[in-house]
């Protein structure tokens, strides 16, 4: 992922404002996509790159805060920076609680917006990395046979091979074989690493 891949989405109903934002964001080497309304943004097909949303609070139709709620509900975890002509405290509190990165009142300092954008993109990058890692683990977990998954659940739960064999009605040797397969397929170098993977996958592990 390079800087040029990152894209900033701008939603503002005021065309000159949109244009000035595009100009400003482009001047620091970021890609910009402009939208005049929330609906337009929701309908668009967006590139799968690190991104953030610069959102005017007051929009015709769906407001900026409504859009923020919609994206969260839809699992579109995109960091939001609010800009507004005149914001009040309750409005900004609502926005920040809903996960906004920044809440800027027009006219804001150009650097404040650019800093917020960098912060938002960084947050999105991390989130995307995490999502990618989990996706990889899921793929690996999916490659396990049903028997291997049963064994893995019990291994990360801290059971001994003998116990697992007794529970599953197989010999300790067979369990050892499955366990090896699990470590191999999941790409785990050690038991603690496997436990961490299981945690990320949402498999119950005992708290030490």
């Amino acid at each position: 992922m390079t800087e040029t891949d990152a894209t900033v989405f701008v939603v503002d109903d005021d065309a000159p404002m949109r244009e000035s934002l595009r100009n400003l964001i482009r001047s620091v080497g970021l890609r910009v996509e402009l939208f005049a309304s929330a609906q337009e943004f929701l309908r668009s097909k967006r590139p799968d790159v690190p991104s953030c949303l610069v959102l005017d609070v007051r929009l015709p139709g769906l407001s900026g805060l409504d859009l923020q709620r919609r994206t969260t509900e839809a699992g579109m975890e995109i960091p939001v920076i609010f800009i507004t002509g005149y914001g009040d405290i309750p409005m900004s509190v609502r926005a920040m609680k809903a996960g906004a990165v920044e809440f800027l009142t027009k006219p804001f300092r150009d650097q404040d917006l650019l800093d917020a954008i960098q912060q938002a993109l960084e947050r999105d990058r991390k989130a995307r990395d995490q999502r990618a890692a989990i996706e990889e683990l899921r793929k690996r977990f999916a490659s396990l046979t049903p028997r291997e998954r049963e064994v893995m659940k019990r291994v990360v739960a801290g059971l001994l091979n003998k116990q697992i064999g007794a529970e599953l009605g197989t010999s300790e040797t067979t369990v050892k074989l499955h366990r090896h397969q699990v470590m191999e397929k999941m790409g785990a170098g050690s038991l603690p690493e496997l436990v961490r993977m299981a945690e990320k996958l949402g498999i119950p592990v005992p708290k030490s």
Binding site: P16, E19, S20, Y86, K106, P107, F108, D110
Partner: protein, 742 residues
């Protein structure tokens, strides 16, 4: 024996007080009577004399006392004789001489004070005395001539009480009194006593007869007067009078009686009116008691009973009766018709009952209260209102159950009424109920002073006003809220317009400003990156944004014009009515007379209801405030509406005709607000509608500017002129058709 005075009645007592230089003993010679030779008794002569005296006593025509005097003269052969009697009218202070014979006879009727002559000595010593020249001791008798040589005096008594003396006198020495004279005089003294008693009896009898005659005359006079009076009473028919007998008959009756019982005189004359038949069975016993009383005492005390009338209806009467003296059978009865009285009593009882029921069932509380404030009686309504029973109230005073804040006033009212001031009073006050709650009440009290056997009291009518009071409070609260709302509305209309204006300005200006900042920031970055083309483009964007900001400022100037109103079809008269309702309390508070003259055929106007209300309210409040400083002259406010026709090209004042050229040519509705305030300063007229221009100490100077903006946004005009007579006129037009509104 004797005593004399020159005049009969006129003797000066003080001038003749005896000096007593001559002792009584020196003039007495009684003991000589025994020593003197005495003549034999002449019984024949004596008997003769006594017979004469007795005959005189039996003959009322003769003067027995004079006969006695003459008998003494005859029997004793003396020169003068007579009687001295003590006066009775002054308790015996004097002697008088009712009978004298012989030489001193001319002195009949004379007399002396009791102690100024020898008679007093005789009575004091209570025995016969013989005096010699008594004038030596009693100079009072000196003038009585001839003087008495010797005087024999004998006292006489009646019932043991001294009455007087008889006496015999010798004026010379022709003979001297002896023991025989003494004896005869004693006998005659006893006779004198008898004679005196006879005389007394006769006198008493005469007096008795005279008294009786006088009494009889009086009785006769009284009787004749009484008879006349009774006759008048009978004839006057004021009360019924009848003569009856014990057999049950009515012998005579006056008209009043006959009318009372409904019979005619013919009925009476034919004996058909019988008092026993007139009496209902249950009254017969009472009649018998009265008859018994009549027989015993002659009269029957008045009593109440009933009679049957001829038509068998009943009449209540009061009856008193008396027997005729000596008849034993007949009597008279006085009968008073009690129908009216009974009716009045019945009416009074019914009235009392009605009042009592009314008081008991009244929804108002009614109480009787003693002068000290203690409850005497309370009706059910009051008991319910206060939660106390009548018994509990009787143990309390009005003050006890009065709210603490009203207690002093209540006590003062009671005291004032007791002192005779303000007997009637109506107050609004608070009571404390038994449950501790407060009851507002209208209380009307009347103090009734003591009269006769009735003691003084208050009557009080108490009406529960708690609900009304609460309603009043609520109403008051509502009025206060409304007034606050109005004030707030007027303020808000100013402030929000300002606030919205600034918010809009901020928003509109912030957009290009933010764009300027963005583009300028980008420009700097492009320059730093040596990308001149992008930098140039950024600079042009900054310029464009700057222009845009300028355009926005221009647009904001006409913001009110351009702000799209919330348009509805409005009945302007209705809108005016709503505003007048809102301003009503302000109008009343300032004692302003508000009149409307609204055209009843106004077309509906497309406009923003709230904004137009604000304009009218603003004009009304301005007018009210303009007049509030006035001390003189009528404060009048007129609001009018009418249809007008616009004549383009004329000045504002002459631009609108209130006369249509043709029916369809009405172009505008004109609303005018006129006041009788101090009017407008012609110099300020031009600036009147400028923003921030004000003549009021607290004004923002935005009202008229905003109002004009609103009216112009509706395609109309707002302007001000001086009122024809006094004050100012603010008026605005609104187009009937929406052609002017974009």
């Amino acid at each position: 024996m004797a005593e004399f005075a020159e005049s009969k009645n006129d003797f000066p007592i003080e001038a003749s007080i005896p000096d007593c230089t001559v002792s009584l003993e020196s003039i007495l010679c009684t003991e000589q009577l025994r020593r003197r030779p005495w003549r034999p008794p002449d019984y024949k002569k004596e008997n003769h004399a006594l017979v004469a005296l007795l005959s005189a006593r039996l003959d009322p025509q003769s003067n027995i006392l004079q006969t006695l005097a003459e008998t003494i003269l005859d029997v004793t052969q003396c020169d003068s004789s007579g009687l001295s009697l003590l006066t009775k009218d002054d308790g015996g202070k004097r002697f008088y001489w009712p009978a004298i014979a012989g030489t001193w006879k001319p002195h009949i009727g004379g007399g002396t004070p009791r102690d100024f002559g020898p008679c007093g000595d005789v009575l004091d010593r209570n025995c016969t005395l013989l005096f010699k020249h008594f004038e030596r001791r009693y100079p009072y008798l000196l003038p009585v001539m001839p003087p008495a040589e010797e005087c024999l005096l004998v006292p006489f008594y009646v019932g043991g009480k001294a009455v007087g003396t008889i006496w015999a006198i010798m004026h010379g020495d022709r003979r001297k009194f002896d023991a025989e004279d003494e004896r005869v005089m004693s006998t005659l003294g006893q006779f004198a006593s008898l004679a005196y008693q006879s005389l007394e009896s006769i006198e008493d009898l005469k007096l008795q007869i005279a008294a009786r005659e006088k009494a009889e005359a009086a009785v006769r006079q009284l009787a004749s007067g009484l008879e006349a009076k009774i006759r008048r009473l009978v004839d006057a028919n004021i009360i019924g009078i009848c003569v009856w007998n014990l057999e049950g008959e009515i012998i005579e009756a006056n008209e009043a009686f006959l009318q009372m019982v409904g019979y005619s005189r013919e009925d009476l004359l034919t004996g058909r009116v019988r008092w026993r038949d007139l009496t209902p069975a249950e009254w017969r016993d009472r009649d018998e008691r009265a008859v018994a009383e009549l027989k015993a005492t002659g009269t029957a005390q008045p009593f109440q009973k009933e009679y049957f009338r001829k038509d068998r209806s009943r009449v209540p009467v009061l009856l008193g009766a008396a027997m005729f003296e000596g008849s034993g059978n007949e009597g008279v009865a006085f009968v008073l018709d009690l129908s009216e009285q009974k009716r009045a009593e019945e009416a009074l009882r019914a009235s009392e009952e009605r009042w009592s029921k009314l008081a008991e069932n009244s929804s108002a509380g009614i109480a009787l209260i003693a002068p000290d404030g203690r409850f005497i009686a309370a009706n059910l309504a009051l008991q319910k209102m206060l939660g106390y029973t009548e018994d509990e109230l009787q143990g309390r005073t009005a003050s006890d159950i009065t709210h603490a804040e009203d207690r002093a006033a209540t006590e003062a009212h009671i005291a004032e009424a007791n002192e005779g001031q303000r007997r009637v009073r109506r107050v609004e006050k608070r009571y404390l109920r038994k449950d501790g709650g407060v009851m507002w009440a209208d209380v009307s009290t009347v103090f009734v002073p003591a009269s006769g056997s009735n003691s003084a009291f208050f009557s009080a009518v108490i009406v529960d006003r708690t609900e009304r009071k609460q309603a009043e409070e609520e109403l008051h609260q509502k009025e206060v809220s409304l007034r606050e709302a109005q004030t707030a509305l007027a303020h808000i209309s100013r402030v929000t317009t300002m606030g919205e204006l600034t918010a809009s300005i901020a928003h509109e200006i912030n957009q290009p400003l933010a764009a300027v900042v963005n583009n300028a920031g980008a420009c700097l970055r492009w320059l730093a990156a040596q990308n001149l083309e992008e930098a140039r483009q950024s600079a042009s964007l900054v310029i464009a944004d700057g222009h845009r900001a300028g355009e926005i400022i221009g647009r904001i100037r006409a913001l009110a014009k351009k702000a799209p109103p919330q348009k509805d079809w409005l009945d302007l008269n209705e809108t005016i009515g709503e505003v007048i309702a809102m301003a009503g309390s302000e109008v009343r508070r300032n004692r302003i007379s508000l009149q409307t003259q609204l055209a009843n055929d106004l077309p509906l106007i497309l406009g923003d209801r709230i904004q137009l209300q604000q304009v009218i309210l603003n004009l009304l409040i301005n007018a009210i405030e303009a007049m509030s400083g006035m001390r003189e002259g009528p404060q009048e406010l007129w609001v009018s509406s009418q249809k007008v026709t616009e004549i383009p090209g004329e000045s504002t004042e002459e631009r609108y005709e209130d006369r249509a050229l043709a029916d369809a040519e009405w172009t505008h509705v004109l609303i005018a607000v006129r006041d009788s305030g101090p009017g407008l300063d012609p110099k300020g007229l031009d600036r009147l509608f400028n923003a921030f221009y004000t003549t009021k100490p607290k004004g923002l100077g935005m009202g008229l500017a905003i109002s004009r903006s609103i009216i112009e946004a509706h395609g109309g005009r707002l302007w001000a002129t001086a009122n024809a007579s006094k004050g100012a006129v603010f008026q605005f037009t609104l187009p009937i058709r929406d052609e002017r509104m974009s």
